[in-house]
């Protein structure tokens, strides 16, 4: 069975060919993409994943609660940090973030963060969530970086 993996990333539109295409072409993963929090939650509701890579700056999608959180932060992805809020909701079952029960069975070692933020800027959040896999999006990353991140999460290696 191929590992089932999820990339939650709104700017995938920019990185689609560079980063996602090698994952599809490799045929090694059952690869899924969600480009906003609503779509990600829809996927997480119906199935479990061996590895989930999350961006920090995510748009809310159509769900009214995620939309409200986004609007409360000035409708700004940088301020809203919905990726971090999604992780808190999933791991800590924080109902202040969203009134619905999050899907069960998530642990920090299934998760990784792949974002433009510096590690230092979100280190406190990562520590609070217990997430060790982090990769900063910078220029010059190899095309297979996403495959590497998924492998790291699945093999439980630090990154």
């Amino acid at each position: 069975m191929k590992p089932r993996v999820l990339w939650i990333e709104d700017s995938a539109r920019l990185e689609l060919r560079n980063l996602a295409a090698p994952v599809y072409s490799s045929g090694r993963f059952d690869f899924n993409l969600a480009e906003n929090v609503t779509s990600a939650v829809n996927l997480l509701k119906v199935t479990s994943f061996d590895a989930i890579v999350v961006d920090v700056r995510l748009p809310p999608g159509v769900d009214p609660y995620w939309k409200k959180l986004y609007q409360n932060a000035g409708a700004d992805k940088v301020n809203a940090q919905l990726g971090i809020k999604l992780l808190h909701w999933l791991i800590n079952k924080d109902h202040i973030i969203h009134p619905d029960d999050p899907p069960n069975g998530f642990s920090a070692n299934q998760l990784g963060v792949f974002t433009v933020e510096n590690r230092e800027d979100i280190q406190d959040e990562l520590d609070a969530l217990g997430i060790s896999v982090f990769c900063q999006k910078t220029t010059g990353l190899p095309d297979a970086i996403l495959i590497k991140i998924f492998d790291t999460i699945i093999d439980h290696k630090p990154m």
Binding site: K2, T38, N42, V62
Partner: protein
């Protein structure tokens, strides 16, 4: 009291009341044709007439009547001053002006604008849902019409947001069995695909999310009808997006959200009672991926094609029920995989190499030789009158026979 002593300002009162009667005509004129039709064809005339004409005019008559009554009954000899008289009529006339302002400002906002009508329809639908557990077809059709005729992408987006809310509420309702959203799903595409208007990507994206919401909203459904309709809608919208938009990073992303929705439907674990029906949903998903993938191949949208093929191979080889699938279902799934491979194969040499790399996965999971798998797929498409795909499969088989050795390496 002598009649000549009564001083009632009839002129301004009559002018204001006549103006009040004329306001509905102004509101009527300002309505867009579809909004007007909803009011006048769909039994909402009473609310319109009552809200816009009867209630304001009655209010104006009552206010004027009170003014006239107090004027008649005031006793000038008891020292009713001119100031008192003036204040009385200032109050009456101001009240009339306020009624006119309410009618002229509030009612056009409430009834004249698409947003206001949308809110009324949403309330009506939710009320029906609460009472009967079903969506009233007529009101749903009205919402679809509002979406179809919306003049801007923002207005369409407003309609889609309302539909999303209705979908969530319906699917969470205790009486939802998986078969209540027919009108909505079947007509959803008409909102985003209207030939008279330029297509809007964001609205395609929102539609994909609505369809996702239908797919995942409740697990304990008893029917798969809505799921099957959802698959058809996703397939239609995915193909329409490929046809309507030129190549671009953004559009690929939107089409990916349709592919992702299909993939998500495949992950849903059915209850035992609908297990057999759910198998047919799988074949619908597979067919939809084939349709989007083959169209993308034809239009040289390689990323979409590769993603669709990857999903198809995953469905065929990784579905927990694959081993238990009836042979005819397995044949359909493998035919879709091979059919898409044949479309990719026909596009060029590097595509051929890509197909060669993915073929062993299929061979391994079906436990059959490639020539046998190709033969079966070719027969399937010929039998279904899809001769173009059958021909491409035949050509691929021919090419592979010529180059059998490299494949076995």
């Amino acid at each position: 009291m002598h009649p000549q002593e009564i001083d009632i300002p009839f002129d301004p009162i009559i002018t204001l009341i006549v103006f009040l009667i004329g306001v509905p005509a102004l509101v009527f004129q300002s309505m867009s044709p579809d909004v007007r039709r909803i009011f006048f064809e769909r039994r909402r005339l009473f609310a319109f007439l009552f809200g816009l004409i009867v209630f304001p005019v009655l209010s104006a008559l009552v206010v004027s009547g009170i003014g006239i009554y107090t004027e008649i009954n005031s006793n000038p000899s008891a020292g009713a001053s001119a100031a008192e008289h003036a204040v009385r009529w200032i109050i009456v006339l101001s009240t009339l002006v306020v009624v006119i302002l309410i009618v002229a400002i509030y009612f056009p906002l409430r009834y004249g604008r698409r947003q206001g009508v949308l809110r009324l329809l949403e309330r009506e639908i939710l009320w029906n849902l609460w009472l009967k557990g079903r969506l009233p077809e007529e009101a749903v059709e009205d919402i679809i019409d509002l979406g179809k005729n919306a003049e801007s992408p923002q207005e369409k987006s407003m309609v889609l947001q309302t539909i999303h809310n209705l979908v969530l509420r319906t699917c969470k309702h205790r009486s939802y069995t998986g078969d209540n959203l027919e009108t909505l799903i079947l007509n959803l595409h008409e909102i985003v695909i209207v030939d008279s208007q330029p297509a809007n990507l964001e609205n395609f994206r929102m539609t994909a999310e609505i369809l996702q919401a239908i797919a995942v909203a409740r697990k304990e459904i008893q029917h798969v009808a809505d799921l099957q309709r959802t698959v058809k809608a996703v397939s239609g919208l995915g193909c329409a997006a490929l046809m309507k938009f030129e190549f671009g990073l953004e559009i690929d992303n939107v089409i990916m959200s349709f592919i992702q929705t299909l993939s998500l439907i495949n992950y849903i674990k059915p209850l035992d009672v609908i297990k057999n029906q759910h198998i047919h949903v799988m074949t619908d998903v597979s067919e939809a991926l084939f349709e989007i993938g083959s169209l993308a191949a034809e239009k040289q949208r390689d990323f979409i094609t590769v993603a669709a093929l990857d999903k198809l191979v995953t469905i065929l080889c990784q579905t927990p029920m694959t081993k238990e699938l009836p042979p005819h279902i397995l044949n359909e799934l493998s035919a879709d995989v091979m059919g898409l491979m044949a479309h990719i194969w026909s596009e060029g040499d590097s595509q051929k190499e890509f197909v060669r790399r993915r073929m062993p996965d299929v061979q391994e999971c079906l436990g059959l030789s490639i020539s046998r798998i190709l033969g079966k797929a070719c027969f399937h498409y010929a039998e279904n009158s899809q001769f173009a795909t059958a021909n491409k499969l035949a050509q691929m088989a021919k090419d592979l026979k010529l180059k059998r050795k490299p494949l076995n390496n």
